[in-house]
Structure formats: C-alpha cells, structure tokens
Symmetry: none
Subunit: 460 residues, 2 copies
C-alpha cells in the first residue's frame, strides 16, 4: 500500500493529463434518452473500458437491453481490506435548449471565473467529471504501487432515464458486484469550501400521462363548449395534486414519511444554510413546498410531486383555434423514508382515473421508480470518510440529504444489502441538466485527492 | 317594383341560361393562394364586372395589393327602400389532389344523383354557385322592371387566403360601401329541405399567457419542493377557470350574455339536431359545457373559454427531471351577445395575476379580440327574411348561430357598423375545399328564387 502523500503528489502532477482524458470522455455526446445518440453511449462505455484497462483494471463492456454497462475490477496490494464498489454514470441529459449555450455543449473548455477555472460542457459535472475523480484516484494509487482496497467499478448509461436495465443486470451479476461498501460520486459539496457526505437520497417515481379526447383536433369555434378539452382535464388533475398548504393530496402519499430524529433536526438547524440564498440564486424568494417546513426539509427529507413537462395543442407562433385531441404531462414524485414507489404510482393512476371525464381515455407511460435511501448516521465507514474529507478540505463535512435520486443506490441496498457512501464535489451552481453546465477545476482536482484519502482511510 | 311572381317565373325560365353563365365563371380557375393563377383571378373579376354591367349595374374592377375587388351598384325603382350590400368571393381553393377528381375540376358539368342534378366543379358551391344565386335574382328583377332594394355588390378574390386586402379596402371605401344591411351567401342550409339563416356569430378573444418562475430550468431533485413550478401555477389557473358545472368563473364573464328568447329556445328544441350524433362523429358522447345547456346552445349561443395549446418543460421522448423556468398557454374565449372582448381580457388578466405566486411573473401576448355578431332576434329584417324563405321552401328556416367566426363579417361590422343576414344554400356534403366539390341544382335554382323573395320582402 503506497504512502498517501506519494499518491496525492501524483494526482497533483498528473492534473493536466487527467483533464485531457476527461475532455475526451465529455466530447462523446452520450445522451441516453434520445435514440439518436445510442452509438455515442456505446462509444462512451468503450472509452471507459479502454481507460480502465490502461490503469490495470480488468474491465469490460456488458451489453443490456438498453445502453451498455461498464464493469471493472482491481485487487488491493494487501488482503483482508474492504472491497468497495464505485458507481457512476456515463450518460448525460440532452443539451437542449441549444441556443442558450454559450459554446458547444459537447466541446469542453476550461473557462476562467472569479472563483477559479471551471470545465464547461454537458456532463462536466453530471456525472463524467465526478466519476473521473475516482478513476484518477485509482490511477494514482496503481501508478504508485497499488490500491489500498479491492475495487469494483460499475458505470451505467441509463441513469438519466431511470436506469431501466439496472435491476435485471444486478440480478444477473450479484456475485460479481457484491462488495462491502458502495461509493458514489454524483452529489454536491455543501459549498465551495465545505465537503458533504450525503446520507439521505430521495427516491423517484416517474410517469407520463397522456389524456385523449376527440378522435382528431377540432375547430374550437365549431366544437368549443361542447367537446371535452384534454388540456383542461390535465390541468385539473395537476391542480388537484396539491392542497393550499403545499401538501400532495394523493391518498396514502405520506405513508412511510417520518419526521427527522430530533438530533438530526437539531444538526440541520446548525447548518449554515439560508433558504433565501438558495432560492435567491435562481431568482426566487418564497419556499413553494409544505407550509411550516424549512427549505432544507423541503429538498432533503420531504417528498414532492412535480410536472416536468406538459404539452398539448398548438405551440407555434400566434394563435390557432384548435381543441386538441390530446394533452400529455410528465410527472415525477420525489420520495423519502419508506415511501413505496409502486404504491405511489398506483395511487396516482387511480387519482387520474377518478378525474377522467367519460369522454377521455388515459395512457400511462411508466418512466421508472426507485425508493428513497438512508445511511445510518452511526456508521463507522461514515466516520472514516468524514475524517478523510476533513483532512483534505480543512472543514468538517456536512452530513445531510440530497433531493435528487440515485436509483442504483436503492437497488443495491435492496439486492445486496450494501450501504452507500455518497461523496461528490459538484456545486449547487453547476447548472446540471441546464445550459452551460460546468464543473469546478478545484472540484475535479481536490475530488480526486479526496477519493485517495477516503480509500486510504477505509483500508486502515 | 315588379310583381314577385313575374320575377320568380323569369328565374325559372332562365335557368338554363343562368347555368351557362355559372359554368363560364367556374371555368376560370381563380385559385387565390397560388400566384400561377393571378391572371385567372383578374379574369374572374372582369367576368363578373362584365356580367353585372349587362344586367344594368354600375360595376368596376378595383385593384388591391392582392387580387382585385369587384364593386357594383344599382338603384331600386322606388326611393326610401332598404340598401343592401351583398358580399361574395370569386376566388376558390386549389383543386389538389387532382387525381381524386372524377372529372376536370374546372370543367363544370351537370351530374345526375339520386337526390337530383348537381353541378360538379371546384367553386360550384364555394362560392361561385352561391354568389350567382344573388346575381340571378337581381337579373330577374332588372329584366322585369327593376330592383326592389338599392343593391351594392362586393366580390373579393382573397377569401380563401384570409382576406388580407379587405380591411384596408373597407376603410378606404366606407362611404361607397355603407348600406343598411349586409347579405352574405357563403353558408349552408340546415339540411336538404330546410333553409337556414345564420344570425349569430360568436366573437373571439385570444391571449397567450407565459408564466415565469426561476431564472433557469432547475433540477427537480435538487430544487423540487422548494422552487415554484410554473406548470403547476398555470394548471391551477386553467383549472380555476371553470367551476364544477362547466361555467367560466371569470368575474363578469357572463355580463352581456342573454338567455335565448323563449320563442327561439323553443324553435331550437324543434330543430332536428342530435347532440349525440354531432359529438359521436368525433368520437365523443358527453357534452362538456355548462350543465343544463343543450349542445346547440353550447356551440351557438354560449360563451366558452378554451386552452388551445400549452407547453412547458421537457416534451421529448422519455423523462427529464426538470423544474421548468416557464410555462405558457394559449387561451381563447368564444364570445356571444354583448360580451365586451376587452372587458373579458381585462378580467382574465386580473384573474391570472391574482393567482400568481410571489415568485412568478406573467407576460400576456394579445392575439386578437372581436365581439360577437348577433342580429337581434326581434329584427324586422330577420322576420321578413324568415317569411320569404318559408314561402320558397315550405319549411320554417332554422335561425341559428355559428360557433366559429367569419372574419369578413366582423370586418364589415367594425368598419361600417352593419348587421349581416347570412343565408346560404350549400349542403354539408358539398365537399367544399375537397375533390369533386358540388352544388345542388336545386340550391342554385331555389337559391336564386329565395333571394328574389328576400329582396322583395325586405322592400315591403
């Protein structure tokens, strides 16, 4: 097991080379939701396999019904060390709307900012930049003599579309993927200077709803008033989903949603977090969630229902007096605690059907479902990771939650009983999923150093 | 003023000659939308001027930025009689798809059908056959001694392309075109045996609403629960616009909306119209409008509020867990009676603003506003026209509405303050705008007789 200092020095010395590698990966537009990019997803997977082989991993591309997985293994120099499974995803969100990007989304560049250099591109933060911090840490160890822990890596290419191939893949490869701890790098720092360990992840249930009325678009003058308007039906369903206090009205929705333990609630109150700053950064000022809840609760420990997209009728310039034959919306539910995604989706479908006029039909398109996950606050692994991050950043990490979901974490917890340590180096202003996504160069550099320290600490 | 019987006899005697004339007009392919037929449009206008001069009209071609207008005047034999303005259009839709025509579209022919002879050709019904019914009635009067009313005729050549030159032409020729009543022959009979007078046209107010929240699209996991979702805000506004009884909830919306006079309501109940057939034709079965109203009321005499299009967030394939920065919808209000479009739009804007959370801004994009046009049911002109049509057809005409707007009628109302009597002899199966367009010979013949009776009745 090489000395940690030597490994950290190697990471520092190799930063330029590491950036070049990351840019190579980012340049592959591996947009998982759009079939047009299927070949690019395969290329990204192969790129990762090639790079991991270069370091010394036993790496391979594994085909699925969707985009391929990447699986890689490497042993530690010593025996009887922890075996970690590192998870990341090489797929990215679509770059749209393209006209809001200052430069080409898949042409990564290093930009100067008052806070330092940053990498600007789709996928720079979510998740290519993040996953490469771990790869670079492994590279530095292996080039310095070897790994401190046994390492298995799993990269998937369908995280942005709800990981549809993952459950079957896990079931088929349980023995190969089983490890003592899961590591995930798809979360954020607390702030630019303060690391964070994410102990709670909200789950996610996704469903598209298509409401159909007449057999064709109708003239709103000739039929208006007599013919059902699917946009109105859909709007009423959406409006009915929340009450005046911001609570979701689905029957049974809050089953399994517990209040925070008093100790944790107290800790969260001490976190230097201002809801007004958080919202102010995106031009907002008023928490939109449940009345009486703090913003941290709203985004970490409370469930939500949101419409992510809606369409129906004429959307071009000017007016067209049409009664549309259909309208559709994409719904997402962020889940916490022990909420059952299937129960939520069942309640949702019933809720929609109850509000469907005789003259409408509904089609549901399931887009994915995963439960929330919570790491015990008393875990020894958690303590070691906290110390390692304290050493790298000079500040005690915040141990908190994440509003976003990482479906695989829940899947692994369920399938293999593995806990996950979620450490990420993104910042809240990274604009993931939005135009001009970026990743701080310091996140990339100190992220790799952090993983070196964490791997070292876990093995001791 | 010649005896009506003599005029009707002359129409009967001249039918063959009248058909020859109509065929001559139809043979000119005056397709307004296609520049290749520009010369033909001019030829059709000149053909009409020549024909009207033959009868004794003071007729002329008037150039516009587009296709020319035809304006013609003739005085009645007596003074102090009504002055009517007759409107029609000589332009036609393109004949495509040509291969679906059984014979040449611009080679009119008389075809036998189980229901009688019919004229088959592009423009036979829309609107050359219809406008010539009026010209033939005038011809018969003038050949019998003179017109019973002062008559001004306006034929345009751009109706099928939205009448772009009409508003300016009306404004520039107000004094010349001003009359006491407008007559239009571009509508249908109720059915093969029952004439119809269209006395109500719904108005239309259009407004696009754009709701903006955060300064950019947000990740629904990171911000979901705390950040306002403009789709939700818009959906609540849409849902709030109707109550559980299908009534529009805008304050003051029903100001100026009168109940039908009992006599009219009773007449509408007798109209052989089945709402279930009307809706069934487009796959629907349940009237969606105000509880307790008939389908005829819903589409003719009641106002509506409809969303014609909605968009916001991600609308592509699969899912994208985004909280959109904005959502927009195109609203249309069909107006009746004395509803004031500006008052409706003002109430609507206030309604939207009242429902706007602190964190949202709204932008309104006005798309147009025109009031309903309604000939008073008590109008003496209407009563006379009803009696005239009853005499010709032996059946009481349906006095109804049209849910759609006929923009030119609104233009005349706005520019010249004239009410319109819309009487047409087309049938629903005339296939206007489609291959094998036809006009019943009985429509042409009895149409001319009907206009003779109407002109006679108006003058009495």
């Amino acid at each position: 097991m090489p000395a940690l200092d030597a490994v950290l020095s190697r990471i520092d010395a190799n930063l330029d080379e590491a950036l070049k590698r990351l840019f190579g990966l980012i340049a592959i537009p591996s947009v998982s939701t759009d079939p047009a990019y299927k070949g690019d997803c395969a290329r990204a997977a192969q790129w990762l396999v090639d790079d991991l082989k270069t370091i010394g991993f036993d790496a391979s591309v594994r085909e699925t019904a969707g985009h391929p997985m990447v699986v890689a293994h490497a042993k530690a120099t010593r025996r009887d060390v922890p075996h970690v499974l590192f998870y990341g995803h090489y797929d990215v969100q679509p770059a749209d709307p393209l006209d809001l990007w200052e430069t080409e989304p898949f042409a990564p560049r290093l930009a100067d900012a008052p806070t330092g250099k940053r990498i600007v591109a789709r996928g720079s933060a979510d998740d290519k930049g993040q996953l490469m911090t771990f790869v670079e840490a492994c590279r530095a160890f292996m080039q310095s003599g070897g790994l401190p822990c046994d390492v298995t890596i799993l990269f998937e290419g369908e995280e942005e579309t709800g990981s549809p191939s993952l459950p079957a893949f896990l079931a088929a490869n349980k023995d190969e993927l089983k490890a003592s701890l899961m590591l995930v790098c798809d979360t954020n720092m607390w702030d630019r200077d303060t690391p964070m360990i994410t102990a709670m992840l909200r789950g996610l249930a996704l469903e598209e709803v298509i409401i159909r009325g007449a057999t064709r678009d109708l003239h709103s003058g000739l039929f208006g008033g007599a013919a059902v308007n699917p946009i109105h039906v859909l709007a009423r369903i959406i409006a009915d989903l929340h009450d005046g206090q911001g609570r979701v009205t689905l029957p049974g929705f809050y089953d399994g949603v517990a209040e925070l333990p008093e100790e944790v609630a107290e800790q969260w109150k001490q976190i230097p977090f201002k809801g007004s700053d958080f919202l102010g950064a995106v031009g907002l000022s008023t928490p939109a969630g449940e009345a009486g809840r703090s913003v941290l609760e709203m985004i970490w420990s409370r469930p939500t229902c949101d419409v992510n997209g809606i369409s129906g009728g004429y959307a071009g310039a000017g007016s067209k007096t049409v009664l549309p034959a259909q309208a559709s919306a994409k719904f997402s539910f962020r889940l916490v605690g022990k909420q059952d995604p299937e129960a939520v989706l069942n309640a949702f479908r019933a809720f929609v059907r109850e509000r469907l006029p005789d003259d409408c039909r509904v089609e549901f398109q399931r887009q994915g479902a995963s439960p929330a996950l919570q790491l015990p606050f008393s875990s020894e692994m958690l303590s070691r990771a906290r110390r390692a991050l304290l050493q790298e950043w000079g500040k005690e990490p915040v141990v908190g939650g994440s509003g976003g979901s990482i479906p695989i974490v829940g899947d692994f917890k369920r399938s293999l009983g593995m806990d996950a340590l979620m450490i990420g180096f993104g910042l809240d202003d990274d604009r993931i999923h939005s135009p001009n996504e970026k990743y701080e160069l310091s996140s990339f550099h100190k992220g790799a150093r952090s993983w070196a320290r964490v791997l070292d600490a876990l093995a001791k």
